[in-house]
Amino acid sequence: MTSLLFLIPLSILILVGAGAALFWAINRGQFDDLETPALLPLLDADAAESGDASERPS
């Protein structure tokens, strides 16, 4: 039972850290657009190619 006295405060610390990280992400606008990022995994293979293509002078 005594381990609880150590583990519970630790869990609270982690929770507060997670909350702070989430607030930071929200304030940086990472959750403003929930639609576009859903498409990105579909592009992985091609994104590498397109990266090369864009380096060409246009």
Binding site: M1, I8, I12, L15, A18, G19, L22, F23, I26, N27, G29, F31, D32, D33, E35, T36, A38, L39, L40, L42, L43, D46, E49, S50, G51, D52, A53, S54, R56, S58
Partner: protein, 825 residues
Amino acid sequence: MIATCWHCGEALPPDPPHANVGGIRYAVCCNGCRAVAEWIAELGLADYYRLRKGSAVRAPDPRESAESAAAFLRPELSRHLVRARADGTSEAIVLVDGMHCTACCWLIEQTLGRLPGVVEVGVNAGARRARIVFDAKVLALARIVDALGRVGYRALPLDRDALDDIRQRETRAAQKRLAVAGFGAMQAMMYASALWFGAFDGVDDVTRDFFRWLTLLATTPVVFYSAAPFFAGAFRLVKVRRLGMDVPVALAVGLIYAGSVVEIFTGGPDVWFESVSMFVFFLCVGRYLEMRARHHSGDLTDALARLTPVFADRVEADGTLLRVGAFELVPGDRVVVAEGGSVPADGVLETEQCRVDEALLCGESTPRQKRRGEALCAGSIVAGTPATMRVTRVGADTAVAGIVALTTRAASSKPRLARAGERAAAGFVARVLVLAICTAVAWAIVDPSRALAATVAVLVVACPCAFALAAPAAVTRALAVLTGRGVLVVRPDALEDLASVTHILFDKTGTLTQPAIAHDRTIARQGIDRDAALAIAAALAQGARHPLARAFVADAPAALPAVDARESAAGRGIGGVVGGRRYRLGRVDYALDVERHPSHVKDAVVLACEDAVVLADDGGVVAAFHVDERLRPGAHAAVARLVRAGINVTIASGDARTRVEAVAQRLGVAAWKARQSPTDKLALLASLRAQGARVAVVGDGVNDAPMLAGADVAIAVGTAADAAQAASDIVITGQLEALAEARAIARQTLSILRQNRRWALCYNIATVPLAALGLVAPWLAAIGMSVSSLAVVLNALRIGRGYQRRATNETAVAGESVDTQRALA
């Protein structure tokens, strides 16, 4: 399948240019589209074509964008649009027209992100806005607008005040509240389960109190941070002496929390922190979903930005033209509006005469002739000659701004229903409160030590959770179902209103009808095939912006002949050489070139062509086309289904009597009103409502906006001007027939809502007495609460089941399309 442009989806000319994308050649309609497609491919963004859901906008005229780019360099304009940031970068926000889907959003982000000097790009697909942080020393705003133009979007830079986006603040605040409620509820539940098991196994008081304090710690931010809007809402409602849903919710949350705190200090048997934090979490989820649906609809600032142009061509003192920002104009300035351009401010016409398309303002379907000295309104489109005008009113003083403001006012004074559901819940909560007080008093007499525990148990068991969830669960589900059918519900309350509607008022032009060529009244010269004549006319009309020209193109066969030596005469017609022959299309006097061939006037055919659009060559009239209105797909079915359902359908239009009557007869609508000004329409609406009718208005133009705002339910069709959409409760983006379906689903939603409330009531009637007697253990109360909530949610998922794609009935669709193909006589 008609061959269409790979980029914009418009009909292809017979010998189309080809865009070379990744080694494959695709046919496109014009060189503009070819440039856009190849540019997109060159940027390595060809994925866009794979991911997009709709065609792009036809490529803009490159000359036009070059002139606008020059205007952006003016310091007056950039001061207005660009905000300098503390770190030396600049920030601007643009409204992007032509953004349909997330693929568009991605393309825009990628394109802008690759411009040198861009620091950060944020594209919001819902709001159709892009926020760009850039280095003004390296990159001008003009390049940004130009880059968007090159990939096929029209960028409208917004006033820099738009950067302080209310919607963004609202979204972020809601997300934080949701996160806190989620974390808090999870933790509270975890600690509480330890307490529950402790209750089974026996646990010493110190450990128990330790866990109680932990639960309190987890729940406090949930109650004071996440639930704050409910308390604020309840406070506002109580101040105006009303009982909305926020009141019982705030009361329950507050009392359960306070009761549990008292339990901790007095060492009573139970705490209910986990119930209250779970409750708040569910509520936050519901609110967040509602908010997202609301944000997708755009607002009035954006609407006004779309209706009026960004630039104006001002006549300087020395007689030259200078492109300036429209906001720079002052009364007294002289402005030239190009053919097809929109008027930047209210003013007086100085050119001898011109034709103006005022469809946006008065609903007139054909352009009106204006003479020198007549008033021009901002937002209307000059259809013929370039027009010179003297500015009389600018910005917020213009007629279109007035209409938008009127809309805002009407929207804020919208008669809100005293919602039956809320009243029921409020009444229910009032009864629970009375019961809780009775329990407290009774236990205080019998056994004071158990009074608080029993009272709070009554509140937990009878917590209006199922009641509070009944509406959001049903409404959220209904919104999702309707969105899938092309019906966007902007104001969730509109569902309740739609279900109880008795009258529907339709606007005509653009809502029930669209302009079309009357094929059966087309007269062609002997020996000439009607379709061939139409193909020539459409080829000439292609690219012209006049509404009639668009009707020709829409009706044209797939392959159009090539046109050389195009000419266009000032509001009268267009001409060109097709197959070696010179043709002219337009009003009869222009087409026949009366000045050069006066003999043609005596032609018998001419007499029949009085109000027709005439195609002529040097030998005289080739064909005469009559332009009528065609019913929109689904209009007939929608009206028929509504009438069958016992709804009174009325048509109110600003158009001429004969046209309105024809449409009304065709649709089988007995009640119709022609020549209605916006004020007349509002009066008609008021008189209907005075007779006790519940009225839905279906419209599209800005002139409908006041009427839409005053209606019980305002419904805009997908092509609607954005001001109308901003004032509307429901937007139909698909077929008009979805309207009838939406009403059926709204009624189903209400009936499921009633079932849910009845279920919640039964559950409470069964459990509250047990709780009042002190027989319900806390874990049992919490489980009971969760199960009742779950039942409510599962029941809500049934919405839309009975209406799955009924319209796919083959014969019905075939019949309908034949119907709509026939032009109105």
